[in-house]
């Protein structure tokens, strides 16, 4: 039993079930990120944990106590909203201490708690201002201060960074991570940004269509995605998916496809499983991350299975740190991530190194990963 247990929770609006049997157990101090596209049910789940939406069936418990039907203010949680939801008529200081005031904590204690939080977030000089006079980043800090001051069991973040500009977003991301490392609190964080999910979390729940598609550490999610949805949703640019024919030859298993001139390519799987072997003669989707499709010098030197192919470059996109290269393998346009000074030009041939250790295969029918 974890610190925060979501046990078989479902949510329906009338006859429409929007969240199906969600099972997640969060340990104390964990940073769980719920990630998924709009309408996948991640915010609904967060609101259910907060008590802002009721639970249709199943239970959500915090520290072993079931929270079904418990008022939000009695769950000892704090929430940071996407719009920050600062009370416009109150000063920053009043905003931060409003929750404590509502819980009947004496003024002296409130002020002490406020001072502590203000120092931690460096918002001491803002305490007498109104939210309308603050910048986006400052409001974000105040919103976090309002959550921190309560010293809650669980922090809930609902897309807290999506209203900030790109640079500030990265800064605040680091700040949140630092805060988590320093305080060691349990956090449930909702976002649609897979980079936020990867960088912040200790575990990720990828959601789609009201189902948890995969629950795991960022590395598990990234390296061994459970299905095509997770594979394409996580990672940017997203994973290349090439239709390949599986060919078993003794103990070895090959993925057969063609280069852009129609020449045959055979890519060997380094450690083929029995399940994969069973697909002999069938077509599967071969998933290759852009960084596993690179130039020879950029290839992972420790990888034992790097295949090389000659192919024509169609587009190059220099991004400063890397150069993204588009090429056609099989019938699929693939994106490779090369070193920024890789010697490539559109229309010219280049040698691509494919790290087969990082390749995954998916069953095109079930869309699940072939173990």
């Amino acid at each position: 039993m974890g610190f925060l247990d979501i046990d078989n929770a479902t949510k329906s609006y009338g006859a429409v079930e929007v969240l199906h049997n969600v099972d997640i157990s969060v340990e104390e101090g964990e940073f769980l990120v719920l990630v998924g596209p709009s309408g996948c049910g991640k915010s609904t789940l967060l609101n259910m944990i907060a008590g802002l939406e009721d639970i249709t069936s199943g239970t959500i418990s915090i520290k072993g106590a079931p929270m079904n039907g418990v008022h939000p203010s009695k769950r000892n949680i704090a929430m940071v909203f996407q719009s920050y939801a600062l009370y416009p008529n109150m000063t920053v200081g009043q905003n931060i201490t409003f929750g404590l005031e509502m819980h009947g904590i004496p003024k002296a204690e409130r002020d002490a708690a406020m001072a502590k939080v203000a120092e931690m977030l460096q918002i001491g000089q803002l305490l007498d201002r109104k939210p309308g006079q603050l910048s986006g980043g400052q409001r974000q800090r105040v919103a976090m201060g309002r959550a921190l001051v309560r010293d809650p069991d669980v922090f809930l973040f609902d897309e807290p960074l999506s209203n900030l500009d790109a640079k500030l977003r990265v800064d605040m991301r680091t700040e949140i991570k630092k805060l988590h490392q320093r305080l060691g609190t349990t956090i449930v964080y909702v976002t649609h940004d897979q980079i936020e999910a990867m960088t912040l979390s200790t575990r990720i729940a990828v959601m789609n269509g009201g189902y948890v598609q995969q629950l795991g550490t960022p590395k598990e999610i990234y390296d061994t995605p459970a299905n095509l949805f997770v594979a394409t949703f996580m990672g940017s640019p997203s994973m290349n998916l090439i239709d390949v024919a599986v060919r078993a030859d003794g103990n070895a298993v090959y993925a057969d496809t063609t280069d852009d001139k129609g020449g045959k390519i055979s890519l060997a799987f380094p450690t083929p499983s029995a399940e994969l072997k069973a697909f002999d003669g069938q077509t599967v989707k071969l998933g290759i991350r852009p960084e596993a499709l690179t130039d020879i010098d950029g290839a992972d030197q420790r990888s034992t299975h790097v295949e090389r192919i000659e192919n024509t470059v169609t587009v190059t996109e220099p991004a400063g740190s890397d150069t993204f290269v588009t090429t056609t393998i099989g019938r699929t346009e693939c994106v490779g991530r090369m070193r920024s000074d890789a010697d490539v030009a559109p229309g010219k041939a280049a040698t691509f190194a494919i790290n087969m250790e990082k390749a995954t295969a998916f069953d095109p029918k079930t869309e699940n990963r072939i173990a």
Binding site: A50, K74, Y87, P88, F98, G132
Partner: protein
């Protein structure tokens, strides 16, 4: 150094501009004419009006008609002027406006932030109140007031106006709160604020502009109401509008037009004042920056 030129998208020449202003001034004068007549005639002796000088400026300036209208004109049995009726109106308008505004705000709060089944239908029904003509409810209302023992009292009039005003005030506040971020209410819920605490501490302080709109509307309507005042208030309890009517319509003696004009201006002053005092709060965006900016 480059000369700064004022190029706007719409170019208007000097002549066009003069023409526009001329027309505007003309319209303004036309609209101000009744006010001019009222003011001018309220400060001249009666003989000048009956002598045919209705449009001309007074030859002799006097505030005597104003004094008479306010304190000595014959309206009821006693020559009291409009003064007691003015206070009747005040003691009716203030509670009626306050109660209907607060109830409207509460209704708007519930209808937007504490949604329940069929709340839109309920709101639709409340909207009907805005379309019911006064005349229709006269008799049932009289019966209700009689039943409650409020017939002929100021409290009865307050009740009538509150009931009638709730439709409008609910409409105003519901539409205002509909765009009020629900996340604020949710944040307050998590902070542990109750139903009324959220209302008093979060919503109401942010409702400045709409409260002003509602108060101006309610004040004007209730102050200017004649029908309910004439129907449900008796003699000495009559509001200003009814008293003014009695003053002007009195069939005995000479018609003192200058006193009538002064009385009419006195009756219109409070609504004017409300517009002047509260009007500037209209434009203040009290909600600026509550959410993202």
């Amino acid at each position: 150094m480059a000369v700064a030129t004022q190029d706007s998208a719409i170019r208007t020449g000097r002549i066009t501009r003069t023409l526009i202003y001329l027309v505007l001034i003309l319209f303004a004068l036309f609209y101000m004419l009744p006010l001019y007549v009222m003011v001018v005639n309220s400060v001249k002796p009666l003989s000048e009006i009956t002598g045919g000088g209705m449009m001309s400026l007074p030859q002799v300036w006097t505030i005597e008609p104003w004094q008479k209208a306010w304190s000595t004109a014959q309206i009821g049995v006693e020559p009291t002027g409009l003064r007691p009726y003015f206070w009747n109106s005040i003691s009716m308008v203030v509670p009626a406006v306050a109660i209907s505004t607060v109830l409207g705000a509460l209704n708007g709060y519930v209808l937007t932030k504490w949604r329940f089944r069929y709340d839109t239908i309920l709101f639709g029904l409340m909207l009907f109140a805005c379309f019911i003509p006064f005349q229709i409810v006269l008799i049932p209302m009289a019966a209700v007031l009689g039943f409650l023992g409020l017939a002929g009292s100021t409290a009865g009039l307050v009740l009538v106006h509150v009931v009638y005003g709730i439709g409008f005030s609910t409409l105003y506040f519901r539409n205002y709160y509909a765009v009020f971020p629900t996340e604020l209410v949710r944040a307050a819920q998590i902070d542990g604020a109750g139903f009324f605490q959220i209302f008093w501490r979060i919503l109401l302080p942010s409702s400045g502009p709409i409260a002003v709109v509602c108060i101006i509307w309610q004040f004007t309507n209730i102050w200017n109401d004649f029908l309910f005042g004439a129907s449900f208030a008796s003699g000495d309890g009559a509001p200003m509008t009814v008293a003014l009517n009695n003053l002007v319509q009195s069939s005995t003696g000479v018609k003192e037009y200058n006193v009538h004009f002064a009385g009419a201006i006195l009756a219109a002053l409070p609504t004017l004042l409300v517009y002047i005092v509260a009007g500037r709060y209209f434009v203040r965006g009290l909600m600026a920056g509550s959410v993202k900016g």
